[in-house]
């Protein structure tokens, strides 16, 4: 017999859940509370190598104001019903819009989508969680404001609040998104509303310009955590530069990653190259536009020989370093000479610009992202292998050539054991790199799905054994990652959770944090 609910929250009876749903409906209206199978499918579409059922929601609720969020939190406390807040819910490859644990109610904040303020002089914005990058982009362009966004590759459909809260990255000089956020409003688990930084001060007009406020700086504890529901976020926007020059440096050999990173680091640290640079491997570069079966149909990971063939056919580098220069034409000219000199001195790499590659699809999409323009091209990666499986493994590395090479070798060895491809890029900060690897697998193939699951665990543990940890983790491995970061950190996280959310109603298990 068909069950009444797709799933139930842990420890909550059907009768209690009936009562909670009735109260959600009274608070939000029937149209904003979903329990029907056919409306919950899109909240259960994970791409991870675990059964969807482990992340099945019991319901989805969609408040549209701070007051409605507070009302929901009160109901959650009354019935001990856990909610999993999402902003735009596009966390693909990290758990999508599905809850971290089976039975949690998804709190979908997409209806809270007001752009509350954009200040073109101070280059700041204040937005609600449902605002998408596309919406903000349109707002800026319709008003012809001289401002640029920084967005992740899913740009148009994702949003600044969810991305920043999960500490995501973009590709402009403001690419380290949390660093360029300023001030939050948070509904706490007891229903109180906290404004961080200068926002706690009545009548403050400095909430979006000064991050630290007075006393401990709290914003960080509301990222990758479950201590509250963020209902507003301040952002710093980049003043549109008078000129922009995107370029790519192509490297022919896999071992050239050392030269690429060593050449780049001093330029990046000195802000001669100011943006979050990408060094993408051929399998990412080609994988976003080609099909695997065009190059290889045999068993195991795609062999190096086939990758070489793709590099040759598609006229791409084995590594492709994308960066930009921003500023006045004079500044760009000076910095361009420095870059050309550095690349020449390294003896490796070929520099290409829009003059040579302006027509090239991949160059164009990279150039768009480096200007914070909306572009969904990278989704092409999902056609590389097909089958709907994707899980990001994203360890942090020092920005050193030797470290990049060590991580590359380790990753390829582990992926090779499981027949998966090294579809990867390095996103370079000032001193660190996010080594982002997309484990692409076919979810219709049970053996490959299992291989991806085992492979992910080996990646986590073998990288950790070398001292490397991930910057962000999907919802199926939160516990494992939390354990790798050690018991003292887990303990402190838990103590804060107990103090702020004694009933454990907000996203229990997020980042391995439980009451």
């Amino acid at each position: 017999m068909a069950a009444k609910y797709v799933a139930l929250p842990n420890g909550v009876s059907e009768r209690e859940f009936d009562a909670a749903i009735a109260e959600f409906r009274a608070a939000l209206g029937d149209d904003n509370v979903f329990v029907e199978q056919d409306r919950l499918v899109s909240y259960n579409k994970i791409m991870l190598p675990v059964p969807d059922a482990e992340h099945a929601p019991s319901a989805a609720i969609s408040p549209n104001s701070v007051e409605q969020v507070q009302a929901c939190v009160a109901i959650c406390n009354k019935y001990r019903v856990p909610v999993w807040p999402i902003s735009t819910g596009k966390n693909l490859g990290y758990g999508s819009a599905a809850p971290g644990n089976r039975g949690q109610v998804v709190m979908d904040l997409r209806r809270m989508n007001r752009i509350l303020e954009v200040d073109a002089d101070l280059c700041t914005a204040l937005v609600e969680p449902g605002v998408t990058y596309q919406q903000l982009y349109d707002y800026i362009h319709e008003r012809k404001l001289p401002l640029w966004l920084s967005c992740p590759a899913p740009s148009a459909i994702a949003g600044p609040v969810g991305n920043t809260i999960d500490r995501g990255v973009g590709y402009t000089p403001y690419g380290e998104h949390f660093l360029f956020s300023c001030g939050m409003e948070v509904v706490l688990p007891n229903g109180e509303v906290l404004r961080t930084g200068m926002g706690s001060l009545p009548n403050s007009n400095t909430w979006q310009v000064f991050k630290w406020g007075f006393g401990p700086y709290l914003d960080g504890i509301f990222t990758q955590s479950n201590y509250g529901i963020v209902t507003k976020l301040g952002l710093w926007l980049m003043p549109a530069p008078p000129a922009f020059k995107p370029f790519v440096i192509r490297y022919a050999e896999e071992a050239d990653i050392v030269a690429a990173v060593e050449t780049l680091r001093p330029l990046r640290m000195a802000n001669i190259i100011p943006n979050a640079v990408v060094i993408s491997h051929a399998l990412w570069e080609g994988g976003a536009v080609a099909k695997r079966s065009d190059y290889y149909k045999g068993p195991g990971s795609i062999p190096d020989e086939a990758v070489q063939r793709m590099v040759h056919d598609r006229n791409i580098g084995m590594w492709n370093l994308y960066a930009g220069l921003y500023g006045s034409p004079e500044q760009i000219e000076v910095n361009w000479k420095i870059i050309q000199g550095a690349v020449k001195a390294s003896g490796k790499g070929e520099i290409l610009t829009a003059e040579q590659l302006g027509h090239d699809h991949v160059f164009k999409y990279r150039a768009d992202l480096m200007q914070g323009k909306m572009n969904l091209s990278e989704f092409g990666l999902y056609n590389w292998r097909g089958g709907g499986g994707s899980a990001w493994f994203a360890p942090v590395s020092q920005a050193r050539g030797g470290e990049a090479q060590k991580q590359l070798a380790l990753a390829k060895t582990i992926l090779g054991r499981h027949g998966l491809d090294y579809v990867a890029e390095f996103i370079v900060g000032w001193r660190d790199m996010h080594h982002v690897i997309d484990l692409l697998f076919d979810r219709t193939d049970a053996a490959q799905t299992e291989a991806a699951k085992v492979c992910f665990q080996e990646l986590l543990h073998e990288f950790a054994a070398q001292g490397y940890g991930v910057y962000r983790a999907n919802t199926a491995v939160q516990e494992d990652v939390a354990n790798l970061y050690g018991s003292v950190k887990r303990d402190v996280n838990q103590k804060i959770k107990r103090a702020l959310d004694p009933n454990g109603i907000i996203a229990p298990g997020k980042s391995g944090i439980w009451v």
Partner: protein
């Protein structure tokens, strides 16, 4: 690129089945001009049999071709979702490659849109079983998994069909024996198009919701080339 706000070109499925269809580039997008409440959204590389199967049930359906070619910006998807959500009672049947299907699914998370069927279809690769299908078992597509398995069995090639209920407890899948159906015109792709069109039109007979199940059968290769596609039916 800014997605949204497109100029539409009209076509209907009946007309398009014989006409040479423009595919891919933004300038050649096709969007509904007819009042028919069903839109067929197809990847340019989707098997013709699927379109013909759907067309046999819904000859007046509107047709839109998608296809993530270089330079394609997903506008066909945005347009189709906007069309679907614009009026209650509309339906969308589709077969897309993964990249577009993932994007489309992300756009359906809107209170007004319901999913009547969703499935992943893969062929080729290194898997032991050549033709593999994962179906989200919903009340609205009850019986689809068994029917598809019957059609696949009729081809004789090795296949698997997994049917999973949203929230269905892990591990309660059981294997079912299937009986090969009489081969439909257009093979399993044609039968799938026809079935999804029946679901969209509200003519698919109501059945007991599918239990989680695994159907397997056949042996060897079908000879068809590799592909990875997702099918769906959405309703507003």
């Amino acid at each position: 690129m800014t997605i949204g706000r497109r100029a539409f070109v009209a076509a209907t499925l009946a007309g398009a089945a014989t006409a040479a269809l423009p595919a891919g580039p933004a300038s050649a997008r096709i969007l509904p001009a007819r009042p028919d409440p069903v839109l067929l959204l197809l990847d340019a590389s989707a098997p013709a049999a699927f379109r013909e199967g759907a067309g046999s049930v819904l000859p007046a359906a509107n047709l839109l071709l998608a296809g993530r070619s270089a330079g394609d910006d997903g506008a066909a998807l945005v347009d189709s979702i906007a069309w679907l959500a614009a009026r209650p009672g509309r339906r969308m049947v589709g077969l897309l490659r993964d990249a577009d299907a993932v994007l489309l699914e992300q756009m359906t998370r809107d209170g007004a849109i319901r999913c009547l069927s969703a499935a992943q279809h893969c062929q080729g690769g290194e898997a032991a079983v050549q033709s593999r299908h994962r179906i989200t078992a919903l009340a609205s597509n009850a019986g689809l998994a068994g029917a598809l398995a019957g059609q696949l069995a009729a081809t004789g090639a090795a296949f698997s069909v997994v049917s999973e209920r949203p929230g269905g407890a892990h591990g309660d899948t059981f294997r079912q024996d299937i009986v090969a159906a009489a081969a439909a015109q257009g093979g399993w792709e044609g039968a799938l198009g026809r079935t999804l069109a029946l679901i969209a039109a509200g003519h698919w007979p109501e059945q007991t919701p599918d239990e989680p199940a695994l159907f397997t059968g056949g042996a060897g290769h079908s000879g068809a080339g590799p592909f990875a596609l997702r099918s769906f039916v959405f309703a507003s």
